[in-house]
Symmetry: C2
Subunit: 293 residues, 2 copies
């Protein structure tokens, strides 16, 4: 395994040694020999907005407050106008309650749509699509050298991906610097945790780049657009609808970033080609990590 | 790219050349040159059970009838006791309606839980967990040589994975023979399509092996158990809860199957080590496909 080291620009990142995020399980390998492997945890977290149960997410369990805030924000259930008075996590019953000073618009909306809660997921995609109507992301410039440097720096940071695999990562970046790196069993949770961190710390989105290990699907593109971030980068591939939406909202979409190769299927006008890589070079991704497929 | 060819045992498999499953999109590559790439489609499909709207799934769009049947079956909303009278797909409004002779138990259950439909997703995980209480999968024997042969045969079949990437595959197998290979943008859809095919064709589960490209999460393990299949195999990794549930229901769980390496974290007693691979051999997976991460 290549050496890993904490990144000097990182504000918040994975703690692969934190208790409760992974555990060692003994199995049998292809030679019939006992083998112990490190496996990520997966546990339910139920998110409440005031008195209303909204959703149960499957998560590794770190940063539950950011996950709750980011999920509600990305669903349009929390806006900048809502004053958050408390975010209470109870690890015994796996719940987070986000409290606002006054009932939010979306509580009323949900009350019309659902009798019990917990079943809001089917409606949220529609709400997200509504949220991007008329949205146009701000101008920005992205140096291709930043993309290569980000890819290399992110791949070398200590992470649950490297220690246990089967996990997705999302990183909030500025220029060539990774700032906040979140991991989770579901790629949407990792993005939501970034969104919650941004909401909590009032982070400006217009000069940021979002990096994800996951595919560039419609849902990933919509979440990034709702967060106001103009550039989304992934080492994975695209879906056609994801590309369509990115072009509609003016999001720069860079996929299949491996080593110094990539393809940009939307918003290529933001890219400044300041680093032209040699042809035929190798992928610099550590081979020891196992993809979260 | 290694040569791909149809498998002689395959009953139903991917048709990467079918219209509407992928499309060519022109972008810009790392050299700043225009490049055309093949990208999978992703579109909504709304599933109805009789008059009730159940869920909207994001799918590549092939086999909508199997997806609807399998989804409803894996959620416990359709059982062997329900007589299915029609499965109607309307490609203009992207809906499938599954009709049964009499209203199912689950329609009544859903009516209690939700006012409008479309928002059933939050409740379904709980319903699935209920379904595996007391479940114990049947005895079976699995030769490790089958696993290696399956992996090699599946990797060489024509697929959207090889032609466009960013997609998951699930394969229903018997011994070393792949029988039904389904692909989809979401790994759960691919499994549900297999389940729908099995329901439609009254396929016995107890002598089958389910192969998936996706991670072995709690949801994948529960779906496989509900389908009655005693062996689940993946080239990806595990979550700890997935392993816990597999051990509880007696499911054999083989992960990280690459070339002739793997690790089994549950139900290893079903494995017969009839093929001991040499140490240090290479992965035989074609490198041209791009993972659906």
């Amino acid at each position: 395994m290549p050496p890993t080291k904490p990144d000097p620009d990182l504000i918040l990142g994975p703690d692969p040694d934190a208790p409760g995020l992974s555990r060692s399980i003994v199995g049998v390998d292809h030679l019939g020999q006992p083998q112990s492997v490190n496996v990520i945890e997966e546990r339910p977290l139920t998110i409440f907005l005031n008195a209303r149960e909204i959703v149960t997410a499957m998560t590794i369990g770190d940063y539950p407050e950011y996950l709750a805030l980011g999920f509600l924000r990305n669903q349009g259930m929390l806006t900048d106008r809502d004053e958050i008075t408390a975010v209470d996590y109870d690890d015994e019953i796996d719940t987070v309650v986000v409290r606002t000073r006054t009932e939010t618009d979306h509580e009323a909306k949900l009350a019309r749509k659902t009798r019990t809660s917990g079943c809001a997921v089917g409606t949220v995609f529609g709400d997200m699509i509504e949220g991007i109507e008329g949205l146009r992301l701000p101008a920005a410039q992205v140096r291709t050298s930043w993309l290569y440097e980000l890819s290399a720096r992110i791949n070398r940071m200590p992470s649950l991906y490297l220690s246990a695999g089967a996990i997705h990562g999302t990183v909030l970046c500025q220029g060539a610097a990774p700032l906040v790196y979140m991991e989770d069993v579901g790629r949407h949770n990792a993005v939501d945790k970034i969104s919650g961190w941004m909401l909590r710390h009032r982070a400006a989105p217009e000069d940021k780049i979002l990096y994800t290990t996951g595919r560039l699907t419609s849902e990933m593109v919509i979440k990034t657009a709702l967060m106001g971030i103009p550039v989304l980068v992934s080492r994975s591939g695209f879906t056609a609808w994801g590309v369509d939406i990115a072009r509609q909202v003016g999001l720069t979409l860079v996929g299949r970033l491996r080593g110094q190769r990539y393809i940009c299927l939307a918003g290529a006008d933001r890219l400044i080609h300041d680093s032209t890589p040699p042809e035929g070079q190798a992928d610099d991704r550590p081979r020891t990590g196992r993809a979260a497929e």
